[in-house]
């Protein structure tokens, strides 16, 4: 049985395209791992961007904080976070990884508040989600409190392409999340029960291709300390 963290990292890595610019923000171990994995596997010319402002860093170890100086190591160029937001603002950032405490059927996210509870805040999401060419959302929890019918507050909305969860991959089509593939071991009934809005899913829904040996081996090399597990 492949662990959810491993499967999600691999699925997220597969979504990245060679040559593109890709950014992750604070509290983003899975995107960090996915980006470095994709660069080792099929996207050697990915330009890796993060909050340190380093461009094309080549970390020698992975930190728990995804703002760590380790993620600036080996970068030939250094700009500021402001420059990276500007890059997105002018429509030139290809892909950003974002998450939400709650996600609705349109792929909008809430990181701000639910009634009576203060959440950590959306960080860069309200700025990046409408401007980056593509947002990939990920969320390590898939239940009805997370995937909800209506958000009490919309922190960010924008160009969501995919949502990766421990149960499935959603793809946004006509501004609605649709199930693209179910992960191994997840039944259509499981998924419907865990999702707070109605989804079309049945036995004909594709299965997420299983991780290959090469994917798993490379993942183990890149993240030997299993930083990716800190999200679970």
């Amino acid at each position: 049985m492949v662990k959810a963290a491993d499967l999600m990292a691999i699925v997220m890595a597969r979504l990245l395209r060679d040559g593109e610019t890709v950014f992750h923000g604070v509290a983003s171990p899975l995107p960090m791992v996915a980006i470095l994995l994709a660069r080792r596997l099929h996207a050697p010319h990915l330009t890796y961007l993060n909050i340190t402002g380093a461009v094309g860093a080549r970390p020698t170890h992975l930190p728990r904080s995804t703002v760590d100086a380790a993620l600036a190591r080996g970068a030939p160029a250094q700009v500021t976070l402001t420059d990276l937001f500007d890059l997105a603002a002018r429509g030139r950032l290809d892909t950003v990884f974002l998450s939400g405490v709650q996600i609705d059927r349109a792929g909008r996210i809430n990181l701000s508040m639910v009634p009576g509870v203060r959440l950590p805040g959306g960080a860069g999401s309200a700025a990046l989600m409408p401007t980056a060419r593509r947002t990939i959302l990920w969320r390590t929890r898939h239940d009805r409190r997370t995937f909800v019918d209506a958000l009490p507050f919309v922190t960010a909305a924008g160009h969501v392409d995919r949502v990766v969860t421990p149960l499935c991959v959603f793809r946004r089509i006509s501004e609605q999340l649709a199930v693209e593939s179910l992960h191994s071991g997840v039944t259509p009934a499981n998924l419907s029960a865990a999702t707070g809005f109605s989804i079309a899913v049945d036995d004909s829904t594709p299965r997420t291709p299983a991780p290959t040996g090469a994917e798993l081996a490379t993942l183990a090399q890149i993240d030997p300390d299993r930083i990716r597990d800190t999200e679970f």
Partner: protein, 266 residues
Amino acid sequence: MSKIVSLTKAAALVRDGDRIAIGGNTLHRAPCALLHELVRQGRRNLTLVKTAGSYDLDLLCATGSARAVEAGYVGYENVLGLARGYRRSVESGQVEAHEHSCYTVIAALRAAAQGVPFMPIASLEGSDLIAARGFQRIANPYGEGVVVTIPALSPDVALIHVHEADTEGDGAIFGARFEDALMASAARKVILTCERIVDEQLLAERPDRATIPRFEVDAVVELPHGAWPLACPGEYSYDLDFLTAFAAIASDADAVAGFLAERLRW
């Protein structure tokens, strides 16, 4: 005209009710020793400005020093999760959370740094933050469309921890610079704390010269380990034991007071 002052005097430049901008990002290079001194001196009603903070913001909320937080993110990332001091103080009504996107903090500081009342911004559409924060849309005077604007935010004081500074106030940051230089430009006063005071000539000889220039800076304090318990890139990492202990009790003001008194030997 040396700007070197004691920690006590530097902290006294911050007044009750000030809006303060805090350098660094999440667990990295915040001026924590200076923030501890503000707490020790009993500063109150501070408004905290930051793109993404952790212990710095949590501390000032947990100790009752803050009355508002203008930030994009408050938390300990996946290292320790929630900032419970912040959360409790917001939920109890003691602190107002003026949520920003990190980029709207940047836009607001840019407006202040450029001496204009607002900054247009190419994003935020679809976000409830526009209405929640009262961000105004204005018509493009050169063509079609409207653009969201962010009002200028000029902090009373920016508190920034750097690696090296000279006595005149030139500050050099090695590695990620975050928004610190922008904060320094936008703020009315700037206090630098630094790992080391160095000779001006030494900074001049470095290929990566200081990026916070003397003309922004009002006071410099030499404070080795001044970002502790957060990290200072290239110098030390964050103190996980301390942060773990703090984060666990951050929602309990009395426990926080006792913890700080003991651990900081007040």
